[in-house]
């Protein structure tokens, strides 16, 4: 562990090559229908968050980094938590995310809260794909509407994305997930990450995870997933609403570095990880403290 600075940027590998391609990864998790900021008198998060503020900061970052590819990703639980969801079923969440230019998301357990049908009905509002590698929807109306893996090709960069969901039984009312089959996250992660890295020759593989950061039990989490996998470079997590101070470095099966990050919930923070590619194989990953849309932002 170590090597990542608490704030600002700090590199932990400095390979040499001329061919520089740069990527800025922005990410959220567990936004829970928090369209507007928390109320000013909220005991824990007064006046924090808000999707219109997030839209603004993302716009500014895109403007500042025109020479780079900016990716915007989410790790699930977009739904549930404010009356906006109860009233509109997630339409406004998806619309705003589409306008912000989200590139891909995975599904969290609360995204099943209005049932498979409820989620399906909202999909036309989402102009971005849902990546679900270990939910098998073949026997549900969602069949063919999510992807087991996804490739984003921009400016000579090929980014592979997989998405892992949490076990639904006991967590989500059975009638809401119906015939969805939960498959082994480790197995599916390795299967699709191998396709992305070896067959598709992706420069980077990102795992959007709603497994949770870590548990006291032997339940699978981002921290226990990483050492059981190959070919995943970055795990962007969710579910446990963990406010990591900064992205962490873990190791995979081959003792290669895997970055894990999670940025709390409710859109209070925006995560950021930068990647510079030097040549075909070398990359330099820089971690940022969660982007506050205040102090750290100035250092971006």
């Amino acid at each position: 562990m170590g090597g990542l600075a608490i704030a600002g940027m700090s590199s932990f590998t400095i390979p040499l090559s001329r061919n520089r391609r740069k990527l800025v990864i922005l990410h959220t998790n567990d936004m829970h229908s928090r369209i507007e900021p928390f109320p000013a008198d909220h005991p824990k998060y007064p006046d924090l968050g808000g999707m219109a503020r997030r839209a603004q900061i993302i716009k500014e970052i895109r403007e500042q980094h025109k020479d780079k590819v900016v990716l915007l990703l989410d790790s699930g639980d977009i739904f549930q938590g404010t009356p906006y969801f109860n009233m509109y079923g997630g339409a406004l969440e998806f619309k705003l995310m589409s306008e912000m230019g989200y590139d891909a998301c995975t599904m969290g357990n609360h995204d099943f809260d209005n049932g498979i049908e409820g989620f399906l009905n909202m999909l036309p509002h989402a102009k971005f794909p849902f990546i679900c590698s270990n939910y098998n929807f073949d026997h549900t109306p969602l069949k063919g509407r999510t992807k087991p893996y996804h490739i984003i090709e921009k400016q000579d960069m090929k980014i592979g994305i997989i998405g892992l969901g949490v076990k639904l039984e006991g967590l989500v009312d059975h009638k809401n997930y119906g015939n969805t089959i939960y498959e082994s996250p480790v197995e599916k992660a390795n299967q699709f990450a191998a396709i992305l890295k070896k067959q598709e020759k992706c420069d980077l593989v990102i795992c959007l995870s709603h497994l949770g950061y870590s548990y006291n039990t032997d339940k699978i989490s981002d921290v226990t997933l990483a050492p059981q996998t190959r070919y995943i470079d970055i795990i962007l997590g969710g579910h446990t609403h963990t406010f990591l101070e900064k992205p962490e470095i873990h190791q995979n099966l081959d003792k290669k570095e895997v970055i894990i990050n999670q940025v709390g919930w409710a859109g209070i923070n925006l995560g950021r990880i930068d990647v510079k590619f030097r040549g075909k194989r070398k990359k330099e990953i820089s971690a940022h403290a969660p982007i506050g849309l205040k102090k750290n932002y100035a250092k971006v």
Binding site: E36, R53, A55, L92, I268, N269, A289, L293
Partner: protein, 221 residues
């Protein structure tokens, strides 16, 4: 912990996003401010009494929700009683008109009504818990306490024979919340959200809703 640099009011608002939000916000505020019913009495949020009008109101409507499904033969379990917690009722309701937003304030959580299958000895633990903590909202049951222990308790006015009991509660409490450890690991069935049940109770009442203190839980010391 929350990092020191969150998305706060130093960030300006993106006008495009705000324009997308505004019509939803406006029509939601109309909906939320709509009066859905009327209360005949004040229902205060108190945590110092063994029994409250507010607690009785919510415990009764939760119990009635499951009981009604049983009577309509939509479920095969007959609920015995209901127990909730004072901490989960987040605001007082005033006599007079009630808006939807007031119900969201009362019950901001997404908790569901559940029924948990209990043995006779689990029920004993439940009533001992009630006596020890100074009461919680209950329905269809009575408890007398002396020296912080149950001196007698009944369900629907009768003592409890051996057998199984289905107790109505929230999923939060069924998971052991508020130290209700007697619920943990038990078979359970899940019903609608507690907030939806409260809404329906208020919306469907043809006259102002009343509730009262009935001596459901009494202390003789």
């Amino acid at each position: 912990m929350v990092p020191a640099t969150p998305i706060d009011n130093s960030i300006s608002v993106d006008t495009d996003a705000q324009n997308t939000i505004q019509p939803y916000k406006d029509s939601m505020s109309t909906y939320m401010n709509e009066v859905i019913g009327e209360l005949a009495v004040d229902m205060k949020r108190l945590k110092t009494e063994p029994e409250t009008i507010l607690g009785n109101f919510v415990a009764d409507l939760s119990f009635d929700h499951v009981k009604k499904l049983y009577k309509l033969q939509q479920i095969d379990l007959e609920p015995s009683m209901c127990i909730l917690n004072f901490g989960g009722l987040r605001t007082s309701l005033s006599k007079g008109p009630v808006t939807r937003s007031k119900v969201f304030e009362l019950m901001p959580f997404e908790n569901a009504i559940v029924a948990v299958k209990m043995t006779r000895s689990d029920m004993d633990s439940l009533f001992h818990y009630l006596a020890r903590v100074g009461g919680q909202p209950i329905s269809n049951a009575r408890l007398s306490v002396s020296n912080n222990k149950p001196s007698s308790y009944t369900i629907n006015g009768k003592p409890l024979p051996e057998g199984d009991y289905w107790v109505v509660t929230s999923d939060y409490l069924a998971n052991g919340g508020d130290n209700m450890t007697f619920f943990k690991g038990k078979e359970r069935r899940s019903f609608i959200k507690l907030r939806d049940a409260i809404m329906t109770r208020i919306e469907t009442s043809s006259r102002p809703i009343s509730s009262e203190i009935e001596g459901r839980i009494t202390y003789d010391n």
